[in-house]
């Protein structure tokens, strides 16, 4: 993190930091964030290549091998239907990561567009969009997601909708705030003065400048989506079996906490690792990328 007390060294040496430089700074300054990035990458790879990586078919039941303790054959033991827990966690990464990514992408896309419009056009547009955002923000997020799931029933698609609906408002607020300040910047004024079209200014000139904040926000929203899904699973309105998210595995495994603790601990630890990794990466990225996002 740069110290404002010192003159901006980058400015002094006359070069803006490139993305590569920022990456290097991240690795040099914040080993933890770099490590987190590596872990996330590995988990994504494991999810993508799950059929290759997983030692067993995650759906293969074996009623005679139920609830086996961890062993060389089954590193994390087997579950209540005799399925290999490690394989299920590897395959579960697909669902959990999807649940982390898809609603976050959707909600941030909505939030970004609305935030841009609100900030850029101001006036009534701004008022309408921001009051709508206020309404969304006034709901306790889990409760809102519960209501949506209540209305539409369980299932992955509905989880996406529920979580997207919950999260767009905060993105909209941040993008709006940045748009407001970027709008006054010289380069935007310049673009305006030479008659560049409004949507071009919004999407070509302002949006790229919001990108660092959005990237940070993105990394911080993913874990909260994963956790929200776990909460919904606890209430029985999250992912539905046989598709197994980590949250659902933890919920179903917790009944065996006293006798076969790995059934709930393993997926919980998986969640914890991913959540912490995204958090640390997000914090690290913010330090490197983003002067705006001090709140959050």
């Amino acid at each position: 993190m740069k110290d404002k007390n010192e003159p901006n060294i980058s400015a002094q040496i006359g070069e803006a930091d490139t993305w590569l430089d920022k990456g290097k700074t991240l690795i040099r300054q914040n080993k933890l964030a770099a490590l987190s990035a590596l872990i996330i990458l590995l988990i994504i790879l494991a999810a993508v290549f799950a059929p290759v990586v997983a030692p067993y078919d995650h759906l293969q039941q074996s009623l005679t091998d139920r609830l086996k303790d961890p062993s060389a054959a089954h590193l994390l033991g087997t579950d209540e239907l005799g399925r290999d827990v490690l394989s299920r966690i590897i395959f579960g990464a697909r669902i959990s990561l999807t649940i982390g990514l898809v609603p976050t992408l959707i909600s941030m896309a909505i939030g970004t567009i609305l935030g841009l419009f609100a900030g850029f056009y101001g006036g009534k547009t701004d008022f309408a969009i921001m009051r709508l955002a206020d309404v969304m923000l006034a709901f306790p997020s889990l409760l809102l997601a519960m209501v949506v799931m209540y209305t539409m029933g369980g299932g992955l698609i509905n989880i996406f909708i529920a979580l997207s609906l919950v999260n767009w408002a905060s993105t909209a607020r941040i993008v709006r705030a940045q748009t407001l300040s970027l709008k006054e910047k010289e380069f935007v004024e310049a673009a305006k003065s030479v008659g560049v079209k409004k949507h071009v200014i919004m999407f070509r000139h302002i949006l790229p400048n919001c990108l660092p904040s959005l990237i940070v926000l993105f990394t911080l929203n993913i874990p909260s989506a994963i956790l929200s899904e776990a909460s919904l699973s606890f209430l029985g309105i999250g992912a539905q079996p046989p598709s197994a998210s980590w949250g659902l595995m933890a919920v179903r495994g917790k009944k065996y906490l006293f006798s076969e603790p790995w059934l709930s601990i393993a997926p919980s630890v998986a969640i914890m690792i991913v959540v912490l990794a995204f958090n640390f990466l997000g914090d690290g990225l913010r330090d490197v990328l983003d002067p705006y996002l001090k709140e959050q």
Binding site: G153, Q240, P241, P242
Partner: protein, 567 residues
């Protein structure tokens, strides 16, 4: 100036929050044992009879030592048993019914007197005359008379939000009362203060059994009328004749029962019962093991049962759950019209394996419609064998050698164990080439689709409301409508006509023989239904619990009258 103004505003708001908080907490959080329902003065008017010497409805004593500590995983919705089809625990303990059921150690059950000490049945099976006990008082001191029976039965049919009207379907004039064309219930007459005559529209052999149903608990006409819609909600106005009075209910927290010292059968041994509401089953487990509970229903912690059996071998109480788990096939969905397909599915499922895997083998594989423990249960009928090869052959014969796809409909509100059953069934069907896809419905859609007769195959359990095969076979195969709303759509109207007619067979042996024949026809000839298994219901009790006995049907609702605690 400005600063102080804004400070004051903020403070006022914070304060108003705090005051709301505190105001409420005086009422219930500081003294968790008091009931929080708006008791007002209702308690004094109807329930507050201090001469009763304890067991005053709506009043929780300060001293609750010696109370039995029980637990439920969800709070009840009402104690008004005419408005619920599942919250039977409180009604079973605070009310009595005209007759009761008693099961001896051999498992044979019989109807025994309760509020009715004697009765006669006319030879045509249409008229029942009940002679009521004359020494019974309600918990508020009112006498129990025939008038209360009349009131209760009429209320069952007319009360707003009543859900047990079916129980009196056969009573003459019931339909007219329901649709509003008659004021009085013609079929229930008061012959004198302690004699009631009930007339049916057609003979109904199971009627006496039906009267043991919790839904037909008898209320105090005076107190119930006065209570209005608070009956069942406000403990102080929820009055019965039962061994305990309803002392307190703080929602989502606990229910309290207190001994009725004047109970006509003699006061119960327990001074009272506290039923904690704990939704999380792991929390329940830890509470039990920490000594914070006297009982835990292992049905809610199925997965911990093995460990409990090992750890507390001497503290396990069990009883058969008189209920059958079944898998349906919808005759309206391809290819279940084909008898061979249905038989193949029957044979493709390894029921014993499921019972072993998920319930530790505690229970038994069922072969018919009437489960173990029910009158009419037949342990010598044809067996369905697990035979995947045979199933494949039958499928091939039916022209489905390459299998087919079908739906397994899951209700998202059902327990994890049921979901696991579906997952196993899916695998077992896959082994004979049938691709079963689990489709998740939310509860209301599931119910609605099932009612419309369009739901795919599903697994569910039917537990006895009263001890008679009628309660089972008629529910699923009673007539076209009954089989449609279960999404079975059994097409043979002749067979269903027989099911309806069997209800009127007065001779008990003949009736049971007909029921057995129908069971054989439906399950084994027509393969219209796949019986899975019935289970043993287990509870673990604390070492101080004596004489705990589950109710005959093995449901989770407990009756505390016979229980005592050693100290």
């Amino acid at each position: 100036m400005k600063k102080s103004l804004s400070l004051a505003l903020a403070a006022t708001m914070a304060l108003s929050l705090a005051v709301t908080g505190c105001g409420g907490s005086n009422g219930n959080a500081n003294s968790p044992d008091t009931n929080t329902t708006p008791a007002d003065n209702g308690g004094q008017q109807t329930g507050g009879n201090p001469e009763n010497g304890g067991g005053i409805a709506g009043t929780v004593p300060d001293d609750t030592t010696g109370f039995f500590l029980s637990v439920k995983n969800a709070d009840i919705q009402t104690a008004d048993v005419q408005k619920t089809t599942k919250d039977y625990e409180i009604p079973m303990n605070i009310f009595d019914r005209l007759v009761d059921i008693e099961v001896d150690s051999q498992g044979t059950s019989r109807i025994v007197p309760s509020l009715a000490e004697d009765w006669e049945i006319s030879s045509d099976g249409l008229e029942y005359t009940f002679h009521l006990r004359q020494d019974v008082k309600f918990q508020n001191g009112n006498d129990f008379t025939a008038e209360d029976v009349l009131y209760t039965f009429k209320r069952l049919l007319t009360v707003e939000g009543g859900v047990n009207t079916e129980l009196l379907d056969q009573v003459k004039g019931a339909a007219e009362v329901i649709n509003g064309s008659a004021e009085e219930l013609e079929g229930v007459e008061q012959l004198d203060d302690y004699t009631v005559k009930i007339t049916l529209t057609e003979p109904f052999a199971a009627f006496l059994s039906c009267l043991t149903a919790p839904g037909l608990s008898i209320f105090d006409s005076e107190a119930t009328e006065a209570a209005g819609d608070q009956f069942g909600m406000d403990p102080s106005v929820t009055i019965g004749t039962g061994p305990f009075s309803f002392a307190g209910w703080s929602f989502n927290d606990q229910l309290v029962l207190v001994r009725n010292e004047n109970y006509w059968k003699g006061a119960p041994a327990l001074p009272g019962v506290i039923i904690k509401i704990i939704p999380d089953t792991e929390t329940q487990t830890m509470m039990f093991e920490n000594g914070e509970l006297d009982i835990i229903d292992l049905d809610f912690v199925t997965d911990a049962t093995d460990r409990f059996l090992e750890t507390y071998p001497d503290q396990i109480v069990s009883g058969p759950r008189v209920g059958i788990t079944y898998l349906t096939m919808n005759f309206n969905i391809e290819p279940f019209q084909d008898l061979n397909v249905r038989k193949a599915v029957q044979m493709a499922i390894d029921r014993q394996a499921i019972l072993d895997a998920l319930y530790g083998g505690r229970g038994q594989v069922e072969q018919g419609i009437y489960p173990f423990g029910l009158i009419g249960y037949n342990d010598s009928q044809t067996k369905i064998s697990y035979d995947p090869e045979g199933a494949k052959a039958l499928l091939a014969e039916a022209g489905y050698g390459d299998g087919f796809t079908m739906e397994l409909a899951a209700d998202s509100s059902s327990s994890d164990t049921v979901t696991m059953v579906l997952e196993i069934v899916k695998e077992q069907l896959a082994a004979v080439g049938i691709e079963a896809n689990i489709k998740n419905y939310d509860e209301s859609t599931w119910l609605e689709t099932r009612k419309s007769g369009e739901l795919g195959s599903f697994v569910s359990t039917w537990t006895a409301d009263f001890n008679d095969p009628e309660n089972f076979i008629y529910t699923f195969f009673g007539n076209e409508e009954k089989t449609r709303i279960r999404s079975i759509n059994y097409p043979d109207t002749e067979v269903m006509a027989r099911v309806g007619a069997a209800r009127g067979i007065v001779n008990e042996d003949e009736r049971l023989a007909e029921y057995r024949a129908l069971e054989e026809k439906l399950v084994h000839e027509d393969a219209a239904w796949i019986p899975m298994y019935s289970r043993t219901h287990l509870w673990a009790v604390s070492p101080r619990v004596q004489d705990f006995k589950p109710v005959w049907s093995g449901v989770s609702d407990l009756v505390y009258y016979s229980v005592s605690l050693s100290e």
